[in-house]
């Protein structure tokens, strides 16, 4: 006797606790085994690129905040660099230093959310809150300087919206001292937890060639063991002055490129960010952070592509200027969007519970995926 069986289609999202926003995953499952994953996007589409065409160059900056809303400074940074390249502006040293420090603080904050929510998806809710406590520290530092906690509108074309707060340097140093032991605490609580390793090691293995073919970047690519970081490989701003390493996945707990590797790369990256902050924080030169801000932004005709290393990977801005005050076209190469494509490859043959762990380890932000 044969029993008729069929694959069940499970709609995960857009309302689901762990799709990190409004992502919809269409899972074809046999029992608990996942046969196919199709991500459906567009629930958070806000026409950023079209909006930008109607804005003047400086008016686009607040909109960039809303792309990757967990790493808003990085988005500002990339856009500002792209337009500055188009205009041929040199920004003061002080601005460069503050930008780098802010971007690295933001990278730590962003990775904290990524790691925390990855853990929370697997069921470890306590580390999630510990990490949010640490993130709060960073948000408070940035808030003191620019008044916002999430969508900063801080890095402007040619400068910054505000000079740093007088307490900024002291508090950042305090944070560095505070944060080092918490990484150890996190390692003990989550990274080396037997259950967490069981859930993430050897799960969602991303081979090197697949990662490259899909154009993955950031920790997703580095987790597969490739040393590719735009801060080193295509240095922008003043990153070439600092001494830091690029952590890559080594397959410590399982295979190279598994969920645990991607997770662990983020932790090691936070340490490297601290290293950069510590090198930069004492060398901030004096100066005016707004001296280079152009009064009227009207770049010459031409195109520019500028890419930076955002916490989630390579964030690129492609801008076409037609010589007017409005950009003709602003195209964003969003790392979350590109990394998300890999999901279908990664989830095949794993269980439903693993899809959550894999999705968490890729760390997408829907604001950036849909733009």
């Amino acid at each position: 006797m044969t029993i008729k069986t069929e694959q069940m289609v499970l709609n995960m999202g857009p309302q689901h606790p762990s799709t990190h926003g409004v992502l919809r995953l269409e899972l074809e499952i046999e029992g608990e085994l996942v046969k196919k994953v199709t991500p459906h996007l567009g629930y958070l589409h806000r026409c950023f690129e079209k909006h930008a065409e109607a804005m003047q160059y400086n008016q686009v900056v607040p909109y960039t905040d809303r792309l990757d809303y967990l790493a808003a400074i990085g988005n500002n940074f990339g856009y500002a660099l792209a337009v500055e390249k188009l205009l041929g502006i040199e920004v003061p040293e002080r601005v460069e230093y503050i930008r780098v420090i802010m971007a690295e603080l933001q990278r730590i904050a962003s990775h904290l959310v990524a790691i925390g929510s990855n853990g929370a998806d697997i069921g470890a809710l306590t580390p999630f809150l510990y990490l949010f406590r640490d993130r709060e520290y960073i948000l408070n530092i940035i808030e003191e300087t620019c008044g916002a906690r999430m969508l900063y509108n801080y890095i402007w074309i040619g400068g910054l919206s505000h000079d740093i707060h007088p307490d900024f340097i002291r508090k950042t140093k305090e944070f560095c001292n505070y944060f080092k032991p918490t990484i150890v605490e996190l390692d003990n609580l989550l990274s080396y937890n037997k259950i967490f390793i069981e859930r993430t090691a050897n799960i969602g293995v991303l081979p090197v060639d697949t990662a490259i073919n899909f154009g993955a970047s950031g920790p997703t690519l580095r987790g597969s063991g490739i040393k590719f970081d735009l801060r080193k490989d295509d240095p922008y701003s003043i990153y070439d002055r600092f001494n830091f390493e690029i952590p890559t996945g080594k397959g410590l707990m399982g295979t190279i490129g598994d969920c645990w590797d991607r997770y662990y790369v983020r932790i090691r990256e936070m340490e490297q960010s601290l290293k950069i902050i510590e090198q930069a924080i004492d060398n901030i030169p004096n100066g005016d952070v707004q001296s280079a801000i152009p009064k009227r932004i009207k770049p010459p005709k031409g195109t520019v592509y500028k890419r930076i290393e955002n916490p989630r990977g390579e964030l690129g801005y492609f801008i076409i200027s037609d010589g007017t005050v409005n950009p003709f076209r602003v195209k964003v190469r969003a790392p979350s969007f590109v990394n998300l494509e890999v999901l279908g490859e990664l989830c095949k043959g794993y269980l439903v519970a693993d899809v959550i762990a894999i999705l968490g380890s890729i760390d997408i932000v829907l604001g950036e995926v849909d733009r």
Partner: protein, 355 residues
């Protein structure tokens, strides 16, 4: 207890009802305090404050939630199997509540002194599986169905190591009656089963390591049976939203919660009866030393509740510390590790008893 009220009222139904009220009150209190404690303890663990607005220290938060739950509209989805859907929460609650009938809260407060108490408890608590499967199927929701399947597989699997460890206790004590097992561990804590039982001799010392292993195994498997982290896979919120009770709301949902906390206390009670002397005081009775006899049952109830709550606290502590296992890892933990170890444990205890 029952006999006492029977003599007082002369009516079987009335006296049964009166006796049944005590465990019901206990379940309600356990749920009320349990939810509050869960929130407060998890808040402490997670560096938060927890509920602090409703009443002093947020003590009335659970009551406020309960009132909210009562007021809620009993919304149901369109394509549910409404008969099963409505029976399921009642069945789940019945399963977890009926366990209390055989649990001795103190020497004077036992619902029914059944000779096969342990057997009854294991049998009746399996009723929960039926309710969970019903809820998952009747909801006509894929998450519920997955949760129910996981839950059924999990509860049935983990009953085996539990039963094997219970068997080893039965071998030592020679009785299935929960009251008698408690009474065998009377007087002081060194008479507890986890320290080899009351009989002093070589056997006692040989038993100690195996009893500790047995306790660990039964504690892990009871955790899995009541679906607590790291085994909360049936209701894994980040995967299956809420598992088998995703579609429920209002009081029906509250009944699932009630039975969860009822179960938590029930398994804690069973573990403390089997290994930690049940309602007996670890340090002797004040009533004995003062010569006030009526004080003793109250002291016993106090110790019983104290032991139960200690285990609930440990369950809460584990829940907010550990991540969740995956469904296949959960099964392999049970079949590859717990059951073989429990079985070896049983055999070794048998050999020791033969010595």
């Amino acid at each position: 207890m029952y006999e006492y009220f029977y003599e007082l009222t002369g009516n079987t139904i009335l006296s049964t009802l009166i006796v049944a009220i005590f465990p019901l009150l206990n379940v309600l209190i356990v749920a009320l305090i349990g939810v509050y404690l869960e929130r407060k303890v998890s808040a402490r663990i997670q560096d938060r404050i927890g509920p602090n607005r409703t009443g002093p220290f947020g003590l009335f938060q659970t009551i406020a939630d309960f009132v909210k739950m009562l007021q809620k509209e009993d919304a149901t989805a369109k394509d549910i199997d409404s008969k099963l859907y409505n029976i399921a929460p009642v069945l789940v609650f019945t399963g977890s509540f009926a366990v209390y009938a055989a649990i001795p809260f103190s020497s004077k407060l036992i619902g029914s002194e059944v000779e096969v108490g342990l057997f009854y408890v294991i049998a009746i608590s399996s009723l929960v599986v039926g309710g969970i499967l019903m809820a998952g199927w009747a909801s006509n929701n894929k998450y519920s169905l997955l949760g129910a399947m996981r839950s059924a597989a999990q509860i049935i699997s983990y009953e085996i190591p539990t039963a094997i460890i219970v068997l080893s206790i039965v071998m030592i004590t020679g009785t299935l009656s929960l009251d008698k097992i408690s009474n065998m561990q009377t007087a002081y804590f060194w008479n507890w089963n986890i320290l080899g039982g009351a009989e002093f001799g070589l056997t006692k010392f040989l038993l100690i390591p195996f009893m500790i292993v047995g306790f660990i195994i039964i504690f892990i498997s009871t955790l899995a049976e009541v679906n607590r982290t790291p085994f909360d896979i049936p209701e894994a919120e980040s995967e299956l939203v809420a598992g088998y009770f995703t579609e429920y709301c209002g009081m029906k949902w509250a009944m699932f919660m009630l039975s969860e906390y009822g179960n938590m206390f029930a398994v804690s009670a069973i573990v403390s009866i089997l290994f930690f002397g049940g309602y007996h005081s670890p340090i002797g009775y004040l009533g004995n030393s003062l010569g006030i006899e009526w004080l003793i049952p109250f002291e016993q109830a106090f110790w019983f509740l104290a032991k139960g709550w200690t285990f609930i606290l440990i369950q809460i502590w584990l829940r907010w510390t550990l991540p969740r296992l995956r469904v296949d890892q959960l099964m392999s933990l049970c079949w590859k590790y717990l059951i073989p170890y429990a079985f070896v444990n049983l055999i070794v205890i048998g050999i020791i008893l033969l010595l």
